[in-house]
Symmetry: C2
Subunit: 432 residues, 2 copies
């Protein structure tokens, strides 16, 4: 049974208990929201070593890190290293987007080594293998995508991105409403190529029930992908994107009716003034399904700094109600992220998620900041370092920029504001 | 005459023309808004090599970089290097916050080498010199702060932070409403120490007219400082902060009546859900004076990454109406920024400003993103690099992560979404 089916039967599962405990909310709350589909707990029955996380209403905002091999970098060991770095930096989930080397092995190694939920985009593997088996992506038999999905589900994948809303109807909207950049989703592109070439409906839409059967069997959470997400600010929130979202909303209902957990993916590239509208629209059209956004980046002109453009967009989106942020690394738009990029990407996304959680009133979040404020007020540098989102970097800065055993810091030195005022207000010595 | 006085006389100055041209707005618009005080053009009559910038209504959001020596790092050469790095990275203004070594020389060298407006916090120098002359900050004669301000104004400082709203009244609010961290503003702390010790009103408030006389003589723009800005999220938007803001609003009127250009400074540490309110409050209480915010950082727990926490806050603040962002570097809360920190700080703040400008409808901003989108659609990597906010970093990533002469990038390799879809839609080859 899926978590949703358990919830519908009124059963509080072990997974729900772990989520409730981690979030500091009641088990009944989790039960109720999983039942409504407003919280999902991606937890494949075959992912043995998983520590489940909840995504959705009333919970802390979660962060996903994409890892995986590519054609140019097929080495699995590197990706396992990235997995560890991502989890250490605070990633709540990872997606294995491998397309190079032994894709099956990559996935299995990542699942085996991952305590956090693992997602995939099965179309990637289906496309890559179609080329070797059938000569091209477009020659893929409809059967094949379901075979790959079943295989991945069996391996223990907790959530899968499936671009089921990419239908002939949404494709028509794309053609009728010109964009600067057409399609930037890889899974979306494979699907579109297949559809146009074969003059057929998207199998993941047409045979959505087959997908539901597999998802139900292993409790794979569907992450309904936005194959038509904008690739630049100019294309944001256009007819094609919203057409696809409408269809995804319809599929959310179908999935829930089948007892399958489901969330919805969102953009992408969005100007700041459109982010809240995008979130509200998703919540409304998709019946409050958890919203998983990629960034969004809020400007196109900062390659090398897209962890920052995405942190801005992610914080605003999460504050507006997005539940799950896919990280963006400094390597975005330039190449495959290396280990340092993965770390920077996760931390930037965690900052965005945490800042939004404070604003959303997530109790645990605010408490962390209060503890840091007190450590600063007490001039307790060890405590400040320990409470930092990245103690290693904070420590390095502190050590290299200051003389040892100095209470203040080199920014103000003996002119430390807090020390001066504390003296005059007769409160204990403090520092910023 | 000050820019404000010229505007009141209906005269369009050379400075107004330069600003209008840079912003792509009419000279009449600049004249009108300078007249109302909703745009300031910090341009000291003695800052010879200045290329003036406008700050305020309808203009692109500006970014300031703080530089300057400290006790532990008194070397002027390093600060001149930071000045160059800051301007190269796109800083629209710099503040010389020197407190170590030869402070006069630092300032003069920085002004001499700066094409952008230079700001200072004269209380820093007054405090440092009081210690050597009078034995302590609190022993400073009232006369002395005005002497320092006049000297700095004569040197060509374009704007000065003066904590005039830190009065006995606002200090009472601070005492009556307990904070986790008292005062984190250095200038504020010096002023408070002086006031408490001497049991006297803040001279910069009591003799505000003297300040206005100096500012008027050299056309120094007053940047009314927020000495009571919160030092942590928990203290944000409290009675003391808003009390000071009310007083600053009253002083804005006085300054304008005297023909002196004036802007207002704001926090600091602010949770995301309070940023818009802070901006609206400032605009309302301070009669739409340009708003200059320090960050704001949106969480306390990310030392080492406060350029990112401030980019989130700055983008939201600027979108809500803030006009001028003071950068925050990765070194914030840990030590004095080095050259790399300065660069990262400026770029993060520029990203925030630019993303907000797109959302605010600043035409030039959107055009840059459109150009980048087209360069991506055309797979034109040279153009993409050139249009990047930091071409050097983008180039480095591109080169190290990809084989030479490859059209796609190593993230997708031969599975480039844009290439695939372009092929099927019959449009020219494109890439993300």
């Amino acid at each position: 049974m899926t978590q949703l089916e358990y919830a519908l039967s009124g059963i509080i599962t072990k997974e729900m208990k772990i989520v409730a405990d981690y979030e500091g909310v009641s088990e009944e709350f989790i039960l109720e929201e999983v039942k409504k589909g407003e919280i999902v707990i991606p937890a494949n029955v075959n992912h043995i070593n998983l520590v489940p996380k909840g995504i959705g209403k009333g919970l802390s905002t979660k962060v996903n890190a994409n890892i995986g091999t590519s054609d140019a970098f097929p080495e699995i060991g590197k990706e396992i290293e990235k997995l560890k770095v991502a989890i250490d930096a605070g990633a709540d989930a990872v997606m294995d987007l491998s397309t190079g080397g032994d894709v099956n092995k990559s996935r299995r190694e990542i699942i085996k080594n991952s305590s956090v939920p693992v997602g995939t985009v099965p179309m990637y593997q289906a496309a890559v293998e179609s080329i070797s088996r059938y000569g091209s992506i477009v020659a893929m038999p409809e059967e094949f995508i379901f075979k790959v999905i079943e295989e991945q589900a069996k391996d223990g994948v907790d959530f899968i991105t499936v671009h089921c809303g990419l239908t002939l109807e949404s494709l028509k909207r794309l053609k009728d409403n010109k964009r600067i950049m057409n399609v930037v989703s890889r899974g979306g592109a494979f699907t579109i190529a297949w559809m146009i070439h074969n003059e057929k409906e998207n199998p993941l839409y047409q045979y959505f029930d087959r997908l539901l059967d597999i998802a139900k069997k292993y409790d794979v959470t569907l992450s309904l992908g936005d194959g038509l997400r904008p690739g630049c600010l100019e294309d944001a929130t256009d007819a094609a994107q919203i057409q696809e979202l409408i269809i995804l909303g319809e599929l959310v209902k179908k999935a829930r009716e089948a007892g399958v957990q489901v969330m919805v993916e969102g953009p992408g590239h969005v100007p700041i003034d459109q982010i809240e509208a995008n979130v509200k629209l998703q919540k409304s059209l998709c019946h409050n399904a958890p919203f998983y956004v990629l960034g969004p980046v809020v400007t196109d002109i900062a390659p090398g700094y897209d962890h920052i453009t995405a942190a801005i967009g992610g914080a605003i989106a999460a504050f507006a109600g997005a539940d799950f942020l896919c990280y963006v690394t400094p390597a975005e738009h330039l190449g495959l992220p290396d280990i340092q990029d993965v770390k920077e990407g996760v931390i930037a996304a965690k900052i965005a998620a945490h800042a939004a959680d404070i604003a959303k009133g997530i109790k645990k979040a605010r408490e962390k900041d209060l503890a840091m404020a007190k450590a600063r007020a007490n001039l307790d540098w060890n405590e400040q370092i320990q409470l930092s989102i990245d103690p290693e970097k904070a420590e390095k800065y502190r050590v290299t920029k200051n003389k040892p055993n100095v209470e203040t810091c080199s920014m103000c030195g003996k002119f430390c504001a807090m020390q001066i005022v504390s003296e005059y207000l007769g409160t204990p010595t403090t520092s910023c």
